[in-house]
Amino acid sequence: MTYVVRMIRGSRWDTESDPNAVSALKVPPEPLADFAESTLSVWLCDDLSLELDRLLAAFAAMRAKLDKLDCVIFQAKVLEELKLVIAEKPGATFDEAVNLTHRNLVGLSARDVLELTEKVYRERLLIQRRDQSEIRSLIAVAVNDRRFEIDRLSPKIRDAIKEDVARLSQSESEVPPEGINYQTDV
């Protein structure tokens, strides 16, 4: 199954747990602010457990400073049901593999935006947040895995992740203590 990921402000989409609460019955106007564009940038994911954090790290790494990141996740069939035009347009992150998963929803009318927002609000699978501390770790892992170079990051992010990157590379280079047999697959 393919999922669509759109970066949002989570508090605009948050709902009350009580199914009879106003926010659960009616779509509030706030989420519209995250979708009100004629060209909407989205990302596709086939396996959320494997790909989502990589996408979030790549997206957050492009920013000026470390911050939390919110996204809404919904099924790709929502786009088909609304007959929206999807254009292949590589993303602009520092992670080339992530860039290939980027799409633009193009030529959206006011009605398209409204229908999409309503449908996603009601049928979304998840609202996910990674706080700034999680984002720091995700970017550090991405740098350590050489998905992109640390020099490409903004100075503020570079400073913030430096210790995490050093810790990661140190733990990788540590030699196992004598007497312990670490078996490896040949």
Partner: protein, 244 residues
């Protein structure tokens, strides 16, 4: 042969006069707007105020507020942001503000708050509002904290602006106001708006102070919004881990 005196170019004169008239109209419009804001300010602070503030003391503040609002980067007649800040700097309002210049500090915060109207905030990037607010908080210290708290609690306050203000207070690197900022953010966890409560949570996650665990736990217990409750619980766990 002497040259004949140059005749006035009638068209150029007409154009100049028209330009002057347009400038004049603009000036009148700006003046009217300042006057409008001035009257609003006096009406709120003086006529409606239960303690009847001292009017002569209020007039300079009201004038300053009116002008700052109109010329602020998002006002009707904006000037360059750096020029705006030069003016603010010249007001020379220090952390040891007296009661009279405290009113000027209010005026300054009102002008900053006005810049947020219509500004779209993007995670991971500083907004003009957040830069100005952090600067304001650093200059005015404790008085700024109490004013920001008042502004956030206003009934008609724009929730997104208030949430942004709270996030900024969490991010601020200023040891002198750390305790006050923690209190401000913890109190805002009880705000009726879930968007403002979310701003308080994000601010507290920046402060990363284990002393916030108890208020966070209380907030998590009665939080009705799903994402907010999950994030409150996540922060509690993180702070508890740090506390060990």
């Amino acid at each position: 042969m002497s040259s004949s005196p140059k005749l006035l170019d009638e068209k150029a004169v007409a154009d100049s006069l028209e330009r002057l008239a347009q400038d004049d109209e603009l000036l009148v419009e700006a003046g009217e707007r300042v006057w409008e804001v001035f009257r609003e300010f006096v009406a709120t602070k003086f006529v409606d105020h239960p303690d009847r503030l001292d009017l002569p003391l209020l007039i300079p503040t009201a004038l300053l507020t009116a002008v700052l609002k109109v010329i602020s980067p998002h006002g009707e007649f904006p000037i360059q942001p750096n020029q705006f800040w030069q003016i603010i700097d010249r007001c020379d309002i220090s952390r040891t503000a007296s009661a009279s210049n405290a009113q000027m500090v209010v005026a300054e915060l009102e002008a900053i708050w006005a810049t947020a109207t219509g500004e779209s905030f993007e995670d991971g990037f500083d907004s003009e509002f957040s830069v100005m607010l952090r600067r304001f908080a650093t200059i005015h210290g404790p008085i700024a904290m109490s004013l920001i708290s008042e502004f956030v609690a206003r009934e008609k306050c724009d929730a997104e602006v208030a949430a942004q203000a709270l996030r900024c207070m969490g991010e601020l690197d200023d040891s002198e106001t750390r305790e006050l900022r923690r209190q401000l953010l913890e109190n805002a966890l009880e705000n009726p708006s879930h968007i403002i409560r979310d701003g308080a949570l994000i601010g507290l996650s920046w402060l990363n102070d284990p002393r916030s665990i108890k208020p966070l736990e209380e907030a998590a217990q009665h939080e009705k919004y799903d994402l907010l409750r999950t994030e409150l619980q996540k922060l509690i766990l993180r702070l508890k881990g740090r506390d060990r």
